[in-house]
């Protein structure tokens, strides 16, 4: 029964520290709100400058059409191309349209006319999207000017976005956030708590107590399992009820997978704590070795398929990658056990491996 008293003591330790507790529960909530409302990949309104050398009704029509669209806001009329550089350098605008002199005249009489679109290319993706949007608007404007384009043989594309019809970024963020927060609480917190006992010397006191080392470690991690699980429920609940992220698959399976991932993270945390005896080092290892890869190499923010092969290979070693795949499958595709067993097996193998390594390392520390 001593183990229960021990767990109770650990829970008091955590509950006593109100600031950390506030962050543990406040952070997921704030991150969900940020990811749900503020962080978007779709393009908002961009500032556009126009160098209008024509000053005719057609150039005016183009300007008005661009200004009226939700993607652009005409901020300046400039006189020369050279001035664009000054505006771009101050970030007062990010795209420019240059209309040549005699634009309308050429268009009507020669049947075709040139336009120049210049984008601030520092951010390549955004620049490409801006150019694409601007071109689409110019195209539709051209149709209104009743200048005929090529006739006949039109291929229409019918696009169906599967699993996420409205292309909501939050669908991808919720699983990633789950992985990140669970990693943070389960791995980083345990690593630091155990190293703290080592650093302050209380670990030795615990080791001479009648509790077995395994029980000491169990006692230390049980409260964090509970905390992590509550957090997982919190994120899922927020995602589902506030942002309408669907949970198409079996909820029980989803929770089971979360528990498996929490165990993987805990085993990693324990492993780190056996490798170091200072909190600072434990923290830096957790930050650099766990959180950074979880954010970068798990497919959470950046698509894995675009990375060079060494990174794609390393990504396979990161538990969060598999967990995010499982979550997306179950939540968005409604997959069942048959589709996710491979990923689950990988997580279980990782957990066993990390636990095995920790047990080995832990013994070595006791011998010293």
């Amino acid at each position: 029964m001593t183990i229960f008293h021990f767990i109770k003591k650990e829970c008091f330790h955590i509950l006593r520290d109100k600031r950390t507790l506030l962050i543990l529960f406040g952070m997921p909530v704030i991150m969900i709100v940020l990811f749900g409302y503020a962080i978007r990949n779709d393009l908002g309104s961009s500032k556009l400058v126009i160098v209008d050398n024509a000053h005719d009704t057609y150039s005016q029509q183009l300007t008005d059409r661009l200004d009226a669209s939700k993607y652009f806001e005409v901020s300046y009329q400039l006189n020369t191309i050279e001035q664009i550089d000054q505006v771009f350098r101050k970030e007062k605008a990010s795209i420019a349209l240059v209309i040549p002199s005699q634009f309308g005249h050429t268009l009507m009489h020669a049947g075709s006319a040139q336009l120049l679109l210049i984008a601030d290319g520092s951010d390549p993706n955004t620049a490409t999207s801006r150019i694409q949007y601007a071109q689409a608007i110019i195209q539709s404007c051209q149709q209104d000017m009743q200048v005929a384009g090529p006739q006949g043989l039109h291929i229409h594309t019918d696009i169906r976005m599967l699993y996420n019809p409205e292309l909501k970024s939050v669908y991808g963020f919720i699983p990633g956030l789950m992985a990140l927060i669970l990693m943070l609480i389960s791995a980083m917190m345990t690593a630091i708590t155990i190293t703290k006992e080592k650093e302050t010397g209380t670990m030795e006191l615990l080791l001479v107590s009648p509790l077995k080392p395994v029980l000491i470690i169990t006692g230390k991690i049980v409260p964090y399992i509970l905390l992590s699980f509550i957090n997982a429920l919190l994120i899922l609940g927020f995602g589902h009820f506030l942002f309408d992220v669907p949970i198409l698959g079996n909820t029980a399976l989803l929770l089971l997978e979360s528990i498996i991932f929490i165990l993987t993270a805990l085993s990693l945390g324990i492993l780190i704590s056996t490798l170091t005896s200072s909190q600072q080092t434990a923290m830096m290892i957790s930050l650099g070795g766990l959180l950074m890869p979880t954010v970068l190499l798990s497919g959470f923010i950046f698509p894995l398929s675009s990375m060079p092969w060494p990174l794609r290979w390393i990504a396979n070693l990161i538990p969060a990658k598999w967990f995010i795949l499982i979550l997306k499958d179950i939540m968005l595709k409604g997959s069942g056990w048959r589709q996710v067993w491979e990923e689950t097996l990988i997580l279980l193998v990782m957990t066993t491996l990390f636990t095995g390594l920790s047990i080995q390392k832990f013994k070595i520390r006791l011998d010293k």
Partner: protein, 374 residues
């Protein structure tokens, strides 16, 4: 002055004595820069496609060929069955499926129009959007090609090719290299981590292990102590930036369009903000664990709202206003402007005023809250 010198000496001794910390200060940022530089790539490549060709005509073959030649797509499966494609989409073998209907070529000619279906795995919204964009571009080019061929045939009615032609230019990053955009931002992340984390943890550590009380009973003045504590990290931060810039230039071929002096001047003030933040956090916390979590909390929010990963332009108005109070966002903006666009002092003036104001405010508050007592 002498006292400050001794404290700094002590700090450097402690930092360099700690064998665990040294690699963290030097090696971790390098790894981080390398991994981030290569990983943080929003350029969408290697999109796997299932082509469901139910027509097998010369045109459908040509379209598949164009897809392959574009360089963005990898053909995963060439199949006549839609159900195979749907299965591949579900098991993530394919990112998208292009469904060419039966009698595509015949009906296109007969009806002057025909539908092609794109099925896209849209779980990663950005990838889906970009992939759809690429594919539509290829389709419209293909469409234009066959139109011109069709129209040049004697049977068709002659129409003149008319319309507005748009030429496009991408300034400052003509090769559309994503790293040129990302790596400067990553350098800011490195400097931020060193500044905020190490300073907060360092001071709280003295509290936690009790040496703070010993320092407090010495005649060292509060200001001297703080300067002595923070200056080493200010120096390390600037060294870190130099190292990062060198690596960026060497490994990522970063172009330095602008004046590096502006960046270093900005970094010098920026580090004061971060160190001040660390100091502020250390006055409000008692353990390293708390300090770390609070620092982490703020840094994550700063980073998410900094425009590092997603454009600030896409944020809603309230979030945009918040970004004005985000020092990380200002630095990322300045370093990108200067390195890529050769923005000069007058272009980035506002950012300098803002960051100086933050530095004064944060350090002022931290000094007021810092109490030297047992």
């Amino acid at each position: 002055m002498r006292i400050i010198k001794f404290i700094i000496q002590k700090e450097f001794l402690q930092i360099f004595r700690n064998k665990g910390m040294l690699p963290i200060i030097i090696i971790l940022p390098i790894i981080q820069l390398l991994v981030l530089g290569f990983a943080a790539d929003y350029e969408i490549k290697n999109i796997t496609v299932d082509v469901v060709d139910r027509d097998h005509s010369s045109w459908s073959n040509r379209l598949t060929g164009k897809l392959k030649a574009s360089g963005y797509f990898l053909i995963n499966n060439y199949t006549p069955s839609s159900s195979t494609a749907l299965r591949d989409l579900e098991s993530r073998q394919a990112d998208l499926a292009l469904v060419i209907p039966p009698h595509f070529e015949r009906d296109l000619v007969r009806n002057q129009g025909q539908k092609i279906q794109l099925l896209i795995n849209a779980i990663t919204g950005i990838k889906a959007g970009v992939a759809a964009g690429y594919l539509q571009q290829i389709l419209s080019e293909f469409n234009k090609e066959i139109q011109i061929e069709w129209l040049s045939q004697p049977t068709a009615s002659p129409t003149r090719a008319v319309g507005i032609n748009t030429t496009t230019a991408y300034w400052y990053n003509p090769y559309q290299d994503y790293k040129q955009f990302m790596v400067p931002g990553i350098l800011v992340v490195l400097v931020t981590m060193i500044g905020a984390f190490l300073s907060a943890m360092n001071i709280v550590r003295e509290k936690e292990i009790g040496t703070m009380e010993q320092l407090n009973v010495t005649p060292i003045k509060k200001l001297h102590f703080i300067i002595g504590k923070l200056l080493p990290f200010w120096i390390i931060g600037l060294m870190e930036l130099t190292l990062g810039l060198l690596l960026a230039w060497w490994i990522f071929d970063l172009t330095f369009a602008g004046n590096l002096l502006i960046i270093f001047m900005f970094a010098a003030i920026y580090l004061l903000v971060m160190l001040g933040m660390g100091l502020l956090i250390s006055t409000k916390t008692d353990t390293q664990q708390q300090a770390m979590f609070i620092t982490w909390f703020f840094i994550v929010i700063f980073l998410l709202l900094s425009g590092l990963f997603t454009p600030i332009d896409s944020m809603p108005g309230w979030a945009k206003s918040i970004t004005l109070f985000n020092p990380v966002g200002w630095f990322i903006k300045v370093i990108r402007m200067v390195l890529l666009k050769n923005s000069t002092w007058s272009d980035v003036q506002t950012a300098f005023y803002a960051i100086t104001a933050f530095a004064i405010a944060v350090n002022g508050i931290a000094l007021l809250l810092y109490k030297k007592r047992i």
